[in-house]
């Protein structure tokens, strides 16, 4: 019986083989030397029907405890912001999700226009001039941004990275830069902000650039203006990694003198998905136009003078430039970037601000509530946005287990990141006062 994904009727296979002068399927593979040809079927489980596969998938799902049954205060790069329902209706359209990369612009205007709108939205949020069509994720976007900085041959010896950068991002950067013999110098935090006095001791004339995350991994806000001044004083590229939701309230980094802005776009309407696919954004000032990796969409006109969208400045890319390309990146996270555009357009001017300010208010409610229990101590005195860390008086692992018994994912145990006894808690607009009060009550019980 032929598989339902292979559209061949009775006798068609034989007819086709005969037309090309062959007698059986194996004849098609005659170029594969006999000793390399598989003689046995692949040792994988037999085919399942739709009914069986759905049942099987549900059974696997039952072995998880998902956020459908738990209240999440987990963050550290992936946040439980609400995803407007319209998004899935749009990205489920075959026209968007089953299309290829828009290399034939005359029949890909939908994807191209979506990317063009995405580029505009990212530029408006970040205050940058140019955004590419998206990267794999925030961490790899940060690594690629540093590669832009390092492309200046006179300054390719080292980069500075704030201790406030997400440890995972730092690890990804280490991987990307290890093979280029670039020295990575970590600048410590002081009272929740990157210590620029310490950075002065680390910078030299061969430093290509510096990366700071704002809000940082621990949730606190850095001094972006001083950071960008420090970079321009030392003639190096400033790279700022941001939480896009925070940009609903905070000044656009471009207006504060930042050269390159990166970040992870999960917050913008992309579900958790166990960490992927999300997307990374990378936006730059105009002078880096020839150095930005990845796809760019521009406006052009067709033979009749009509407005048309098209991939442009492709001479930077690997399929044209090969080993001299700015990066090897070939795909973008088109559908996730589309998701982000729909998200931003759905919330719009007032809704996006509302998401950010509710997250801010609720995070402060929980922060104050937790401190009041007496079970926590403050770690950072500096301001935070929607995520904060606290020092717990008892065992963090025990507390998190107690919370989980009440279906609450209480946060990230920072002991795993070298900060024993500390917990990182994220609060989005989705959390209710009731949920936070439950959290607080549970802490009181667990610490009593």
């Amino acid at each position: 019986m032929i598989h339902r994904y292979i559209p061949k009727g009775d006798g068609e296979k034989e007819k086709m083989l005969e037309t090309i002068g062959l007698t059986c399927m194996d004849d098609l593979f005659a170029d594969i030397p006999d000793e390399l040809r598989l003689k046995e079927p692949l040792d994988i489980p037999p085919a399942m029907s739709e009914i069986e596969l759905l049942r099987h998938a549900r059974k696997l799902g039952e072995k998880n405890s998902s956020l459908s049954t738990m209240t999440s205060f987990l963050g550290a790069g992936v946040y439980d912001h609400f995803v407007p329902l319209i998004i899935d209706h749009i990205i489920s359209r075959s026209e968007f999700y089953t299309a290829y990369t828009p290399y034939q612009p005359e029949i890909s205007q939908g994807t191209l226009q979506a990317i063009f709108e995405y580029q505009t939205l990212i530029c408006r949020l970040t205050g940058m001039d140019i955004s590419n069509a998206s990267m794999y994720d925030g961490a790899s976007a940060a690594a690629e941004a540093l590669l832009i900085a390092l492309s200046d041959k006179r300054k390719s010896d080292n980069v500075l990275i704030s201790e406030g950068v997400h440890p995972q991002t730092l690890r990804v950067i280490r991987t990307y830069l290890h093979y280029r013999n670039v020295d990575i110098r970590v600048v410590p935090l002081k009272e929740g902000k990157t210590d620029l006095n310490a950075a002065k001791e680390l910078v030299d004339e061969k430093t290509a650039g510096m990366l700071v995350q704002n809000p940082n991994f621990f949730g606190t806000l850095d001094d972006v203006s001083s950071f960008s001044e420090f970079c321009s004083d030392n003639k190096m590229v400033s790279v700022l990694s941001v939480d896009p939701i925070s940009l609903a309230l905070l000044e656009a980094p471009g207006k504060l003198g930042i050269d390159l802005v990166v970040g992870d776009g999960q917050s913008l309407g992309n579900g958790h998905n166990f960490g992927g696919p999300h997307f990374g954004f990378l936006a730059v000032k105009k002078k880096y136009m020839r150095k930005i990796p990845g796809r760019l969409v521009g406006i052009s006109r067709d033979t009749n003078g009509k407005r048309a969208y098209v991939l442009t400045l492709q001479a930077r890319e690997q399929h044209i430039r090969r080993h001299r390309a700015t990066s090897n990146i070939c795909s973008n996270m088109s559908l996730n970037a589309l998701t982000a555009s729909i998200y931003l357009n759905t919330l719009g001017k007032s809704g996006f601000r509302e998401v950010a300010s509710q997250s801010l208010s609720k995070a402060h409610y929980l922060y104050n509530g937790l401190l009041k229990t007496g079970a926590f101590q403050e770690v950072d005195s500096s301001p935070f946005f929607k995520e904060f860390r606290l020092k717990y008086n008892g065992c963090v692992g025990h507390l998190l287990r107690e919370l989980r018994k009440r279906n609450i994912l209480g946060g990230v145990d920072l002991g795993e990141y070298g900060h024993e006894g500390e917990i990182l808690v994220a609060v989005t607009e989705k959390r209710t006062k009731e949920e936070m009060d439950q959290y607080i009550a549970c802490v009181k019980e667990a610490s009593a």
Binding site: N64, S65, T101, H323, L360
Partner: protein
């Protein structure tokens, strides 16, 4: 399909909204508390929900897509995207999972990924697999990093050369550069296969490895692959398999058996996951035992009945991206493999190859076929036999008028006027024949009425687009467009 170019920013009217939110149920906190410079303006559009939906539906109708028609893009493998994959990738219990949840709350997810690793190893003939790379090119990056780390571990720091055939995808040389390798390009012989004599010339103590696509980008199987592998191994190098064309040989042959040490899969090609207009994809990387210590971390493992994430590998190249990979894409690939089973996977490769050979046979009278051999899943034509003034680009644009997505054009670089055609197993005999009829009719038009090719397309949402204008005017945002229009008015 339809023409629609109105931007969301042009639809925006002050005061409209497409969202609803509950009232704030705690005391409001003002943004001043952030102690940072605040934004005075948030320039996002203001539209209603129904306008938003219509905007995107109209926009989408400017797209050709695989659910709507044939997409014979060589090397891109535009096969059908099964619908159960989409449904499974939206099951809340499998997807509403935070990546930092405790292991005991994600056993189903870890089991699924563990099984996927195992199945991919089986299909590839490899010993271990990472699911972390986000795309094929990202997998290449992982693979070449592992090769470099392997030589560094053996203190063979002088191994700096990566050998790549001239028919390779552009990502291969770009990746070699990113990892700090020197690139050596070798020639193809008259059959488009690796020129063994040229290869031998470059095999010395500086060789780190060879990257090979097999079947090659010409759609031909490297019959001497074992010999190539032995030559490279004898010189102390490792072999990288670019899995772009793995969809041709599932259940028929395995890279691991051919002598490759490391390889990537393009999940969105071989395992039917949607291309999404350019992504997301996924690029799992398989390795032989000797490279296992270098795999990215964390690795997904099983201990007794428990699945876990293990980051404890001191020789690992580290992390290539946040968390564990494009899980949403991997879920779809898992569903595909379970739907197909061993026979289904083999049959999909067989029918992909059958379709390609059948279509090649239909086209070889009118189009120049430089390598008239049994092809694998794709074949490359060198333009029209009697082109007149018509180029491959003209043929491609004219195909749009016939309602087909054109093949890949001008790649591989070693074939002039290349048209690279990959029908995949998803197409029926009837579709192949109507595509061939269109191609033949274009060949006739090239002689009889060449202006039809030169002015094509004429039935698509836009006519041929001026790419030079785009590159010169550099309008990359709506704000650039406003500035450009302002300048024009002056």
């Amino acid at each position: 399909m339809k023409y629609y170019s109105t931007l969301i920013f042009e639809l925006s009217k002050k005061g409209k909204r497409a969202f609803s939110m509950p009232a704030l149920d705690v005391a409001p906190v003002e943004a001043d508390i952030l102690g940072s410079p605040l934004r005075s303006d948030l320039p996002l559009p203001e539209v209603s929900e129904n306008e938003l939906m219509r905007h995107y539906v109209n926009m989408s109708q400017g797209n050709y897509h695989i659910d709507g028609g044939f997409y014979p893009l060589g090397s891109c493998t535009m096969k059908y995207n099964p619908k159960i994959n989409e449904d499974i990738s939206r099951m809340h219990q499998l997807t509403d999972i935070h990546p930092l949840q405790p292991e005991e709350t994600i056993q189903g997810t870890l089991q699924l990924l563990y099984e996927l690793q195992k199945d991919l190893c089986t299909v590839a003939g490899m010993d271990a697999m990472t699911l972390q790379p986000a795309a094929g090119a990202h997998g290449e990056l992982a693979g070449l990093m592992m090769i470099k780390s392997y030589h560094e571990k053996n203190r063979e720091y002088e191994r700096v050369k990566i050998i790549i055939p001239d028919s390779a995808h552009g990502t291969n040389p770009a990746t070699a550069s990113m990892v700090g390798f020197e690139l050596v390009e070798i020639k193809s012989d008259e059959n488009g296969l690796v020129d063994l004599d040229d290869l031998k010339k470059h095999l010395d103590e500086k060789v780190a490895g060879l990257m090979l696509t097999n079947p090659s980008t010409l759609g031909l199987f490297e019959t001497h692959v074992r010999e190539i592998a032995d030559l490279v191994h004898d010189a102390g190098g490792l072999l990288y398999y670019d899995g772009a064309n793995m969809n041709a040989i599932m259940g028929k042959a395995r890279p691991g058996d051919m002598g490759f040490d490391v390889m990537h899969f393009n999940i969105h090609k071989t395992f039917s996951t949607p291309h999404g207009g350019g992504g997301p994809g996924a690029g799992p990387v398989g390795v032989k035992k000797i490279l296992e210590p270098f795999l990215p971390v964390p690795r997904i493992e099983k201990e007794g009945e428990k699945y876990l994430l293990n980051g404890d590998y001191p020789d690992s190249i580290g992390k290539l991206r946040s968390f564990y990979g494009n899980y949403g894409v991997l879920l779809r690939a898992y569903a595909y493999i379970r739907s197909m089973g061993p026979d289904g996977l083999r049959e999909s490769s067989e029918h992909a190859v059958l379709n390609a050979n059948y279509l090649m046979n239909l086209l070889k009278d009118e189009y120049d076929l430089p390598h008239d051999l049994t092809c694998m899943h794709e074949f490359v034509l060198a333009g029209l036999k009697n082109p007149g003034d018509a180029t491959t680009l003209d043929v491609a644009k004219r195909l749009l008028d016939y309602g087909f997505h054109p093949p890949t054009v001008y790649f591989p670089l070693i074939v002039r006027e290349a048209l690279m055609i990959e029908p995949t197993e998803s197409e029926s005999l009837q579709t192949l024949e109507s595509f061939a009829t269109a191609m033949k009719s274009i060949a006739k038009e090239a002689i009889e009425s060449p202006e039809l090719l030169k002015t094509a397309p004429s039935t698509t949402p836009t006519g041929r687009i001026d790419e030079v204008f785009a590159a010169r005017s550099v309008i990359l945002t709506y704000d650039d467009l406003l500035a450009f229009e302002e300048k024009q008015r002056e």
